[in-house]
Amino acid sequence: MTRTLDVSGLVINRAGLPVVRGVSLSAQKGQISVLLGANGAGKTTLLEGLSGIIPTSGGDIALNGRSVIAARAGERARAGLSHVEQGRTVFRQLSTEENLLVGMAPGADLADAYDLFPELLNRRGVRAGLLSGGEQQMLVIARSLLTRPEVILIDEMSAGLAPVVVQRLMAAVRRLADAGLAILLVEQFAALALRIADHAYVMRRGELVYDGLPQPLLADPDRLHHLYLGDVQAA
């Protein structure tokens, strides 16, 4: 199996305190890896370290076998590591289509974005700030797709959205993985995310406490609960 993203022993400090402590994980081509954990576990910090938003203090990040640990965020993006941040970071003053065009890589096709989310086609001339929350989330995922990434890191895409929209987004993410992308998905809706995932990680207090298949966690919600809260040792 191709390990598109390989993270080993990653350490990230914030204000001098370790927030991510020696995390090793991978994201593989054609697979969704879901990263779960309670609030404050360090999931978002980990993604920010992976994409280069914040500096790391130790460990390595390799993309297709090449270390990108010293690269800036923009260089990592151009190398194929895309990050869909939490909070639906659309460019509010730009139209939907302009948002899509900002990061469009050579060879990318706008039609791919509209094919993934046909809802955006009728809204292409609308300023992104006027879109609904669900449409904005679709837009940032579609925008990421047009950078022609190999790995997409997606942070809390379902926050504040209606369940029907969340299911729509989950289906789209599954479709991206089936098309050959490696996805690392941070998600609070654990059950929904585990259902579409190929691999699962659980993080607690900056460390991985579960690294394995999603099915055991789906089958035993109590175990997941205990992993979140810390009453059970790592699998």
Binding site: I53, G74, A77, T89, Q93, N99, T147
Partner: protein, 289 residues
Amino acid sequence: MNALLTSAVAGLTAAGAYALLGVCAVFTFRLVAVVNFTGAAIGTAGTFSMIGFISLGVPLWPAVVLGILVGTLAGALIGLVMTQWFSEATATTKAAVTAALLVGIVALGLRLTGGQSPKEFPTLFPGSAFRLAGVEVTVASVLTVVLALVFTLLADAFLNRTRTGLHLRALSERPMAAELLGVRVRILALLVWAVTGAFTTFALMIIAPQRSPDFMSLSLLVVPALAAALVGAFRSFPLALAGGLTIGIVEGMSSAIDGISQYRGILPFFVILAVLLWSQRGARWDEAR
């Protein structure tokens, strides 16, 4: 009446320069989110460099080009400082940094140019362009106004019709989101600083012979420039253009009125005060209710 008209026309050169500096301030704020206090000082550095090159025996127009190059590099250097160390800072911090840099540039400029002793600046565009209601309108006046207008139109077209313009608009709104999409944000930010450095230098070269030609006075042209930008709410190029032209023309007219002519320098402060009070009217109305 004729005296007023003459003075208004005389104020056109300053008006064009204020407008161009104001539009440059809007350009910088819209694209790199910095209220730039160093704009005029950068232009002043380029203008004094031109004088330096001329004194070294370089002919006028090559010296102009070299001066603009110095202004461009100075702008890029300030941009490098801002993007390297303050890219994630708040707008207030960025403004404070540029204010501090202004003080530093002025101190250095005064030291290198021999204090506040005036220098002689060559008139780049001598002569009269045409007569307006019996008043001579100089080539320099027309050129500064046209330059301001061209910069306004070019900036607007560039931002709305080119891919780099789209990147700049994205960068101005969410620098990190733009960077995560692979946009080369640092290079683009440096480009913005360099371009504004070049334009402000050329504007100051044109206006310098008609102002108090010392480093401090020219650097403080940032005040009318920011007043013009404020008229455009730091967003609208056409309103900043109109603001700069109005301030310059009213300043020129006031020089013909005994009793207030010696106070015409404070006009930009009145404009700043008026715009700020106007912008607060909603809050006051809410409080009153």
